[in-house]
């Protein structure tokens, strides 16, 4: 009864609510790259009935759509975009507020600190210029008061991120970089206020606010990179997992985003589609390509009752799959356990800036305290001693340090982005720079992960074209390899044969008046005993059958990349879950000496751990589900955009495209980024060596502090910019 009343109420108020609250979707749009695309994407989305507004974001490669409640679904929008030529996928979890709020929070403070710094500098420059000439002391006093008026609210508002972080660290009985920063800003402001009240001219408002401005800028750049990396990673994963066709209770079908699936849902997986979620096969038998899971390229048979994993490719028959939760017995649960263990190792990595801060923060405090006590001992007044100590804190404040690393990382990220590489973990660059060994997975990483026709040139063109016209009717990867080979061979378009029947697990058949054509397994074409390996036979009428050998081939530039890595002094190894013969031939072709076949995910981790024990730092390149724990365990990791989504989540970098060259680009950019960061530390260090003694001796006036601090920050930023605009390696 209650349920009935509630549902009745829901139905009556829903109409009024709908108009007030449009439904919002966010979609990742893969190939939106140019200005014209914005227009096409928005127009395609607006064409869907019920869409109120659509706005594309070119930087984020996303589309925000508002639709009337219950009118258009995500699937309708994705279909409309597909017709316009754009691959799109719903974003898994959208927390725009959480993601961008922190960025905006910092940017607001950057703006206010910048405004305050400029105005205070304007007043300070007048005072400095006037003190050499004939400036009225009362006017200098007025200017100090004006500076205080601007500086006090700014320091109170814009400094919040630092005070919060410093307080957090102190509560946990730790010291972080924000402790000396907060101390310097607050002491300098407080002391300057005191001096202003006293009518003295040792006023540091300009230094305190400029310091705040530069530090906030560094903090903002760091945050921006993190937000961008996270949103890119989310796009990639969403596009990879895509849509699933759900069988509803009444037997109808509906397309839903794969991430919205629940255990117990029943799915239909068409031949040629990827299985969208882990589950158990209920109906349908055939073959699946598990290369993304196990590294094995040859298709495996599948029948009702067996587990299938998300990311496997359904080759033959339509399968009905019931979604299951990752229970403890499955491969996925095992992978999950291994990854959780492996990631703990990486969490121990401490970023370069943090390591520098660990040494720097106590040194800064020590010097400041020494200056204060030293001057008191000599017999100076406490005001003088404190003023000099504050000068030391301001001079040593890690302005350049806090700006140095984020500026370099932003420059490196935009450079990699131009090469189709996405940084996912911001400290990944630092870890990749330390690598001295590169370990590849075979299937899908060193190779393309798709079968290609072997000995293409020995097959007569006419036969290839005839087989291709039959194969064009199927989505089986072997058939598609034949079609691809035929279209490479001839300029003419492939004629798609009519009346082709597909027999899952066997092959294709076309009945003609003059006889029949068959394309498929050896048995299907009436051939006794095959010569082994992946193959497809083609038989026309009574003619002798022709064999098409198929194999997964290494990426075109794989051998070059491996040779280049060896030249640069990296050790190279190949770890695979595939059979020994396939791994050996791939290793031969790319000239890799160390190769291990038939490895389980756990043995891959063990092998990596053993190398780590020898002092090696490994960059792991892999794509499969079986590589995910190894990607998480390795010192740094890289995966292609075609990888299983769990592997993409584990990897530090994701690269797009058919080539393996991004591996070299990541390594060289990471190395250059590290050397620039170290140069920047060097600049900051040299400047401290020179300036600190003067500050301790009490020779640093507010003018000198302002000049020295700004120049070092600008120098460091310009140095970082060399990476973005600089020459390609």
């Amino acid at each position: 009864m209650t349920a009935h009343v509630l549902s009745g109420r829901g139905a009556t108020t829903a109409g009024a609510l709908d108009r007030a609250m449009p439904q919002r979707f966010t979609l990742a749009v893969e190939n939106m790259r140019c200005g014209g695309c914005i227009r096409s994407v928005e127009r395609a989305a607006m064409g869907v009935p019920g869409v109120i507004s659509a706005r594309a974001n070119l930087s984020a490669k996303r589309l925000d759509v508002a639709v009337e409640q219950g009118s258009a679904s995500e699937a309708d929008l994705i279909a409309a975009l597909a017709r316009a030529g754009f691959a799109a996928a719903p974003i898994e979890t959208v927390e725009p507020d959480a993601e961008t709020a922190r960025e905006k929070y910092l940017l607001r403070r950057v703006a206010i600190a910048g405004f305050a710094a400029m105005n205070i500098m304007l007043l300070s420059v007048s005072v400095w210029a006037g003190s050499a000439g004939d400036m009225d002391p009362s006017l200098a006093g007025l200017f100090s008061w004006l500076s205080a008026l601007i500086a006090l609210p700014t320091v109170a508002y814009a400094g919040q991120p630092f005070y919060a972080s410093a307080l957090g660290a102190l509560r946990a009985h730790r010291l972080n970089m924000d402790v000396p920063i907060s101390l310097a800003i607050l002491l300098a402001t407080g002391m300057s206020l005191y001096q202003t009240v006293q009518g003295n001219d040792q006023v540091y408002f300009d230094a305190a606010v400029t310091l705040l401005f530069f530090l906030l800028l560094g903090r903002f750049l760091d945050e921006r990179l993190r937000v961008r990396a996270r949103s890119e990673a989310q796009n990639l994963v969403s596009l990879q997992s895509g849509m699933a066709s759900l069988i509803e209770a009444n037997g109808g079908q509906r397309l839903v985003p794969a991430h919205a699936l629940l255990p117990g849902d029943r799915l239909l997986v068409a031949a040629g589609d990827r299985v969208p979620a882990d589950g158990v096969v209920l109906a349908g038998a055939g073959e699946i390509d598990q290369s993304l899971i196990t590294g094995e390229t040859d298709p495996a048979p599948i029948s009702p009752g067996q587990h299938v994993y998300a990311g496997t490719l359904n080759l033959a028959a339509v399968l009905t799959v019931e979604v299951t939760a990752a229970d403890s017995g499955t491969l996925l649960a095992e992978i999950g356990r291994l990854m959780a263990a492996a990631e703990q190792g990486r969490a121990r990595y401490r970023r370069l800036a943090d390591r520098a801060a660990q040494i720097y923060a106590p040194a800064v405090h020590g010097l400041g305290a020494a200056t204060f006590i030293g001057w008191l001992v000599i017999g100076a007044s406490w005001q003088t001693a404190l003023t000099y100590a504050i000068a030391v804190l301001i001079i040593t404040c890690p302005c350049a340090l806090a700006l140095a690393v984020p500026a370099v990382h932003i420059a490196a990220a935009s450079r990699l982005f131009r090469h189709g590489i996405v940084i996912k973990a911001t400290d990944g660059l630092e870890r990749a720079a330390e690598a001295d060994m590169v370990v590849f997975d075979k299937t899908g990483t060193l190779t393309l992960g798709r079968p290609q026709l072997l000995d293409e040139n020995q097959i007569p063109s006419e036969m290839l074209a005839a087989a291709a016209s039959l194969a064009a009717a199927s989505r089986h990867p072997y058939a598609q390899a034949i079609v691809a080979a035929a279209s490479r061979r001839s300029q003419d378009a492939i004629v798609v044969a009519g009346g082709v029947e597909e027999f899952p697990g066997s092959g294709l058949l076309r009945r003609l008046a003059a006889g029949e054509e068959r394309l498929g397994s050896a048995a299907w074409c009436g051939v006794d005993g095959s010569s082994g390996g992946s193959e497809v036979w083609y038989r026309r009428k009574r003619e002798a059958p022709i064999r098409f050998g198929l194999a997964d081939r290494v990426r075109n530039d794989a051998a070059e990349v491996v040779a280049s890595l060896k030249r640069r002094g990296y050790a190279v190894a190949l770890l695979s879950g595939d059979r020994s013969g396939a791994v050996e031939s791939a290793a031969r072709e790319t000239d890799i000496d160390t190769w291990l076949p038939e490895l389980t995910p756990a043995r891959k981790i063990d092998w990596l751990a053993a190398r780590e024990g020898e002092g090696r730092k490994v960059l792991m390149v892999g794509d499969g589900l079986n590589d995910a724990p190894a990607l998480a365990a390795a010192h740094a990791s890289l995966s292609p955009a075609s990888a299983a989504d769990i592997s993409q989540r584990a990897a530090d970098f994701v690269f797009q495209g058919q080539r393996l060259e991004p591996v070299l680009e990541v390594l060289s950019t990471a190395k250059r980024a590290r050397s620039l960061a170290l140069q920047n530390f060097g600049v900051a260090f040299c400047y401290n060596i020179v300036a600190v003694p003067f500050a301790m001796a009490g020779y640093v006036t507010p003018l000198i502090a302002a000049i020295v601090m700004s120049t070092s920050s600008i120098l460091v930023t310009l140095n970082a910019a060399r990476l973005a605009g600089g020459r390609d390696s």
């Binding site: 914005i38 227009r39 607006m46 507004s53 930087s59 984020a60 940017l107 004006l146």
Partner: protein, 59 residues
């Protein structure tokens, strides 16, 4: 000297106007798609209501 009495407030006021303009632009979402904004300037016809008014009521 009396010139300073209005010159300094004027300088501060002009700076503050710039600052407020920036904060307004930030709030109204004009920094959300820096790449796309460059191309949108070249579009003749507004695509839809939201494109015209900017994503102010966004989210």
């Amino acid at each position: 000297m009396t010139a300073l009495a209005w010159l300094i407030p004027a300088a501060l006021l002009l700076g503050a106007i710039g600052l407020l303009a920036f904060l307004w632009a930030l709030r109204s979402g004009q920094f959300e798609d820096l790449e796309g904004a460059a191309y949108r300037a070249l579009e003749d016809e507004p695509l839809n209501d939201e494109a015209r008014s900017g994503p102010r009521d966004h989210r």
